[in-house]
Amino acid sequence: MTPDILAALEQAKRDKRPIVLATRLPSGEQQLLPDPSAPDDLNAAAQRALDRDESGTVKLGDTDWFLHAYNPPLRLIVVGAVHVAQALVPFAVPCGFSVIIVDPRRSFASDERFPGVEISTDWPDEAMDKFAPDSRTAVVTLTHDPKLDDPALDRALHSQAFYIGALGSRRTHAARLGRLRELGHGDDALSRIQGPVGLNIEAVTAPEIALSIMAEIVGVRRNAPLPPKAKL
């Protein structure tokens, strides 16, 4: 790999720009994609690798290309700068998530409680509009307060977020679904919300709850066959 290619690749990662490193096999000539001067079929294959978030070898004509897909980090938007949120950060970061904490209550959403984490003290619906969850974003609400959780869930349901989870007991969750139904969300939409949030591992402490949430996020992202939630 040449220094130029390495520098351009590292720059794209810093800019959070999706990029593909194409290597011709076995000779090892390399180029970065997309590139207007590259053949259409190579650019198209690179785009497919990014869309699927999967690197691999493709044969185009007589040439084998290894396409190494580099997507920007996944994102985890956590509404509620509560104790479980503090415990969630150290699980989410090594799993490849860039974490954003949303909570208008400044005493909760402080740098001291979340060192180095991006914090928004906007109202959750405004914060969600600003961060615009996409198909590489997970949203978790943890406040227990409908005034904060509901607007975030409403916005999340209107987005392509791949995971939506809401902390709360079965009874709390049933009441929450009732309120979201009144906002016009149907059963299909509401079934996107994982509630009670997390895999059922009988979690008790904040780190245990955070572990169960993170495990569920990974399971949904990897299409694992997760057990159905207990009936409301």
Binding site: L25, G56, V93
Partner: protein, 108 residues
């Protein structure tokens, strides 16, 4: 907070290179069967013997490191094929029954 990407072997390799080490990077380019690490998994090796990342569950890293030393010296990339290991202990392969191809290149 930006994720600590434990898979960002290339960043580690680049840092080693910037610090004056001679570095090769090995990348899984294709897998068949139950190989433990997906295509794109990487391992970096320095001439001085530092290693980061992985291309299997530990089965072929030694052989890949040996190949990496050759590529560091020659500058010529290699495409390595690893199949299923059999009973003969001296044969390098994957006990899990998978097969992988690994591309080894020098950071110039």
């Amino acid at each position: 907070m930006n994720p600590i990407d434990v898979d960002d072997v290339l960043a580690t390799a680049a840092a080693w290179r910037a610090a004056g080490e001679q570095v090769a990077v090995a990348t899984v380019t294709e897998t068949w069967g139950s190989s433990p690490r997906p295509a794109g998994s990487q391992m970096a090796v320095t001439k001085s013997g530092r290693m980061a990342g992985s291309v299997s569950g530990g089965c072929i890293e030694g052989a890949v490191a040996d190949a990496a030393m050759k590529t560091i010296d020659s500058g010529t990339p290699q495409l390595l094929d690893f199949g299923v290991s059999n009973e003969r202990a001296w044969e390098v392969g994957l006990a899990c029954g998978g097969k992988v191809k690994v591309f080894v290149e020098r950071l110039s």
